[in-house]
Symmetry: C2
């Protein structure tokens, strides 16, 4: 059966989320931080990472994987760097804290890099890189994730989707790149399974390490950890350079797990009751390279030249990274957030659990 979609008012949804997270035991500021990261995805039109994930966080919080009263500790620090032991705190509150530290260091010294170990799922990486861009800095963030990417010539998932996000101020829209280093995220496979469609070749391999069009089989293997997984950006083998996506994913592992004294993707969710995810947050003041306004203007000029360059036959527009998401915001704020019935049912349950039922937003359509 096709899923039914309805819209709810953004501000009401925001209020519901904040009240729910308070209901779990987070304080007001934490509840607001978590909600801001979560709804940023819905505001950007990225439904897969938005309020649809409430149920995931619900399970992790109520199951004890996320420790509401965790006390994260700064275990190593220099003027330019810090390592935070997350002690299984909520990924979003850790992420906001860590990126704020990186921003403060960059404002003082030009560069700040903070790594976090033993964190949890932290939402969209781009939220954190844009935090820095909003303060007039270059921002980067990365997270490792449960292993789902097979290395080139392998058939066992050893790396995560390992997204890398990068943002910098520009006119008229900040530049914001945020991409998993796999060809596609797991969510896209799930969509293909639901639709009953075959997978495009070059997305995933089966339990023998062979390119597979069988969405159902690939996903079942991933869930049962019986081999196979999603391919790195660039696909399988060497013909279309899949080892490059594998390399960018490795860069992410190094900046997150290795530089935090944390856990690589192949050990994530392996210790009962813990996720052991690691993250990295970088802020850089490009005033270290000259006049900031001139640097921003030169980026804006180049981005406009790319926008204005000749389109492939049949195409009407060349997008700059982050533009689609930026443009979705006004639409979502006016039309509301699009929710499917399943998510709404989950929210009802969450409202009952957290005592936030009174704030459950009604359907607008």
């Amino acid at each position: 059966m096709a899923m039914q979609y309805h819209h709810v008012n953004y501000e009401k949804l925001e209020r519901f989320c904040i009240e729910s997270f308070k209901g779990y035991g987070f304080n007001e500021e934490e509840a607001k931080q978590i909600t801001a990261v979560l709804l940023e995805a819905d505001l950007s039109g990225i439904e897969s990472h938005g309020v649809q994930r409430m149920i995931r966080y619900h399970k992790e919080i109520t199951g004890g994987m996320v420790k509401i009263d965790a006390k994260p500790e700064v275990v190593f620090e220099t003027p330019l760097s810090a390592v935070i032991e997350g002690n299984d705190a909520m990924g979003q509150t850790l992420g906001v804290q860590a990126m704020q530290m990186a921003i403060d260091k960059a404002k003082k010294s030009g560069f700040g890099m903070v790594t976090v170990r033993n964190s949890n799922h932290y939402g969209v990486a781009g939220y954190y890189s844009r935090m820095a861009a909003a303060e007039g800095l270059i921002g980067m963030s990365m997270t490792n994730t449960e292993a789902i990417m097979v290395p080139t010539f392998g058939k066992q998932a050893m790396l995560g989707t390992n997204p890398i996000a990068f943002a910098m101020p520009a006119d008229p829209v900040p530049y914001s790149f945020d991409a998993a280093t796999t060809v596609v995220p797991r969510g896209k496979l799930e969509v293909y399974v639901k639709r009953g469609n075959g997978l495009p070749l070059g997305w995933a391999v089966d339990e023998e390490g062979k390119d597979s069009e069988d969405a159902d089989r690939v996903l079942k293997n991933i869930i049962a950890k019986t081999g196979g997984g999603i391919l790195p950006l660039g696909g399988s083998g060497e013909m279309t350079s899949g080892y490059k996506g594998y390399g960018f994913a490795m860069l992410c592992e190094i900046c997150t797990a290795i530089l935090s004294g944390g856990t690589t993707s192949n050990y994530i969710y392996k210790t009962p009751g813990r996720s052991n995810i690691a993250q990295c947050f970088i802020a850089l003041d490009y005033g270290m390279f000259g006049d900031k306004k001139a640097i921003e203007a030169s980026l804006s000029k180049y981005l406009q030249e790319v926008r204005d360059s000749a389109k492939a036959d049949g195409e009407e527009r060349i997008f700059i990274h982050g533009e689609k998401e930026y443009e979705a915001r006004a639409r979502v704020l006016s039309d509301g957030v699009s929710l499917n019935d399943k998510t709404y049912e989950e929210m009802k349950m969450i409202g009952e659990y957290t005592g936030a039922s009174a704030f459950l937003p009604e359907y607008l359509d």
Copy 2:
């Protein structure tokens, strides 16, 4: 006609190159630096970027695009950063100077990032990142190049091959990733044209922006700048996430051209007599994140786990980035550097021009 390959002794080839560059007017140290970068590619088994490129440098030096007596200037500097105006000096000497500055800053403060504008082609990006790794640091280097990559949905080359290199010490082999952000480099198209083979789909687009298997047509378009070009890592459109390769290429443009006050790829080789290439060099002391030996050990452990993970059916080995190149070194040092007849003829001519003919290495086979 198939090309004939022969081997020459590595040390003799090195001597020939050094004497040739001295013949152009470089001093002893510069000649050694340029030769070291150039032959690093041959030592790594990457023939396309090695001594085969001598003819390119010959043309750029004798044609005046590379200024032998250029005086590069540090035009902006902070404890963590610098911008070098290259004044059209040789890319390799600028690269070594800039990476050494970044290394010195990282050793003193933890982080160093140096950008260079108005440089020239600087050889393999990985040479510079490995300079930092050899000093116990994380190293990164990037360069923009003449525009050859079409952005997603475009048909006009607006970005370069824009390689990103990253290196870090590890046992038993340093980790060293060095990849163009296009699916393939231009050299691979040239090989397909020579062989008369069709291109794999997903490598390049024609003058209408459509996926093309016609190697000859694509290369002619690139040379004549009549549209089309090589695709970003991830291929065309959105199905296999080509916008991610386009994003990594943009990250390279920002770190090189934008942060140096330099020139983006779409303006490279557009001013007569100048290349206007820009580069970036980053060094980071991972001692900022804890005990260096422990960090290196955790990277080495993870890389070994990836090596040891299950192979796809029919595959015997999972490679870590930089391993193939590292292993080529011993082979090249014992068996000699593989040269084709065309390259050898060019070297003869270069020897006559520079007065280094007496040092031309004889064929070993």
